[in-house]
């Protein structure tokens, strides 16, 4: 008779297992007490499942997880302690909290004290509703917290799995990229060495031919040789510039504090275009330090300075002015020249690859120099630009993060 009631409840609780509700198992052989306790616990808003004896209780436990089991001690056939022992034998219920409901008598209390398996509490009969609710609430909260943590753990595990999968993918792509980079590097090297060697011979022998055998060659032959030499020179310059452009990608991008005074000294001593131009360079005494990749920045400055002396009217002595100014948390480096200037309509274009504007024929260049500057500055997280008008000289600038104050020990 009571069996059917129990089944109804379990079936019901099974169907209505809302994720926020937890299950409470009530075990008592007296239907009256079951209903009374259920009524008290109903206020907690959880699923209450009822069983009228130990065996039924076990059946319920097999079907559902329970936040707490309320176990009547005095039951016929199998009493509460025996039932608890059976429950505890199963690893799954080892830690399910049990509250014994017992009459106030010494022998029961002694037994309870000796009972040491897992979370256990007891309530004396007659049950005081507030006490029952308070004690059950503790375990309901515990179960809910556990559930929450479990769900979060599952969630996290899923995330970790997802992240591990993504990481694996990134690592795979990185390895592929690295290999592609290495191939590019090998390619660049072979371009630089194996392609330039023959080109050097070509140009060298043409020059020697012109130097040593000029008297035996007529003007047309000499002009052909000159064309050959200038084409070879142009191709040499192209391979050099293309290499520089590709090097920007291969360079490690580790920004460090760079003193411009020191760097400019290096640039002046390395740049042959600058050296042979007879340029007058004016460097501001107080140059602000920047955060940059030294090799890339020196390449940028070298290219900007080469341009500054290259695009100057032939009857003028090239003059360059270098200064810095703070720009919020950045430093703007200005390189100003007395050159032919650039039409504002072309200011964007000059930073593109293979773009040359104005009177190209009169000024050497491959059109890669400023593209290198643009790409290198971008890679260092900076900005670049130019202020200029035709016939007014150019004021190129690059902006890089300011270097923090140097710590003096």
């Amino acid at each position: 008779m009571t069996h059917t009631i129990t089944n109804q409840y379990t079936a019901h609780s099974g169907g209505d297992s809302s994720p926020d509700k937890v299950n409470i198992l009530l075990v008592d052989d007296q239907p009256g007490k079951l209903i009374a306790h259920e009524a008290i616990l109903a206020e907690l808003g959880q699923n209450v499942v009822k069983a009228t004896n130990g065996r039924e209780a076990l059946e319920c436990l097999l079907r559902n997880d329970f936040a707490v089991i309320l176990l009547d001690v005095q039951m016929p056939e199998m009493d509460g302690f025996e039932t608890a022992q059976l429950i505890r034998q199963r690893p799954r219920f080892e830690k399910t909290p049990i509250i014994f409901i017992t009459a106030y008598n010494t022998s029961d209390i002694d037994k309870l004290k000796g009972y040491s398996l897992g979370a256990v509490d007891y309530i004396f009969l007659p049950v005081i509703p507030e006490v029952l609710k308070a004690k059950v609430t503790v375990f309901v909260e515990l179960a809910r917290q556990t559930q929450l943590i479990k769900r979060q753990a599952e969630h996290l595990a899923f995330h970790y799995q997802e992240q591990a999968r993504k990481l694996e993918l990134i690592q795979k792509l990185n390895a592929e990229l690295q290999e592609a980079n290495q191939q590019l590097e090998a390619f660049s090297y072979s371009v630089s060495h194996d392609l330039r060697g023959p080109l050097r011979s070509l140009k060298g022998f043409a020059e020697i031919l012109l130097e040593d055998y000029a008297p035996q060659l007529d003007d047309t032959a000499q002009s052909y040789l000159n064309k050959l030499i200038s084409s070879a020179a142009r191709m040499e310059q192209l391979t050099r510039d293309l290499l520089e452009y590709s090097r920007i990608v291969r360079e490690d991008m580790k920004l460090e504090r760079v003193s411009l005074d020191h760097l400019l000294g290096e640039v002046f001593s390395m740049n042959t275009v600058l050296q042979s131009s007879g340029v007058e360079v004016e460097v501001d005494r107080h140059l602000l330090p920047v955060m940059a990749q030294p090799t890339l920045l020196s390449q940028c400055l070298s290219n900007l300075l080469s341009n500054a002396v290259k695009f100057v009217r032939s009857d003028l002595k090239p003059k360059v002015n270098i200064r810095t100014e703070p720009h919020h948390d950045r430093v703007r480096i200005w390189i100003e020249d007395n050159g032919i200037g650039i039409d504002p309509a072309h200011h964007k274009k000059v930073f593109g690859i293979f773009e040359r504007v104005g009177n190209v024929k009169a000024h050497e260049g491959t059109g890669i120099g400023l593209a290198i500057v643009a790409r290198a500055v971008q890679r260092m997280g900076g900005q670049y630009g130019v202020e200029s008008a035709l016939g007014e000289g150019s004021r190129f600038w690059i902006e890089l993060p300011a270097a923090p104050e140097e710590v003096t020990a």
Partner: protein
């Protein structure tokens, strides 16, 4: 070596016959008295220096990419020799890779020439053996305000 003691001795380490030809021509044109020995790769250079340890050349022009023993390996080996400081090493490069320059500099090279070498460059380096060269550009002025 059979050259007179006061004549500058130069060792060129270069595997490309064309580049050796251009070097010899530049040396002829630069107007400096010097005797030249050529080693066709790094291994031959090491061999030559070992057998002439008592009278090593004052100047060595060293190609980097060579078969057998490359230029970097020659520099590394040279760094461990007692006559290391008697030789000024100028690296001849084709590639202009900054990384290569840094490495060569760290290994003791004092100069860099992008091939082909000009007679002016050669003269400058030859003169620098008697009087160390200035690093500032010769024809340009840098004013500090």
């Amino acid at each position: 070596m059979s050259a007179p003691a006061e004549e500058l001795q130069i060792l060129l380490v270069e595997d490309s016959p064309d580049d050796v030809f251009f070097f010899k021509r530049a040396l002829q044109k630069c107007g400096c008295a010097a005797s030249l020995r050529v080693a066709e790769d790094g291994a031959k250079a090491v061999q030559f220096l070992q057998s002439n340890a008592g009278a090593v050349p004052q100047l060595m022009f060293l190609d980097l990419k060579m078969p057998n023993v490359n230029g970097f390996e020659v520099l590394e080996w040279l760094g461990q020799q007692p006559f290391r400081s008697a030789i000024r090493v100028i690296v001849l490069t084709s590639s202009e890779e900054p990384r290569e320059r840094q490495l060569a500099r760290a290994l003791g090279a004092v100069g860099f020439i992008t091939k082909p070498v000009s007679s002016e460059q050669l003269r400058e380096y030859i003169l620098s053996v008697s009087a160390p060269a200035e690093t500032l550009p010769p024809h340009s002025t840098i004013i500090r305000r």
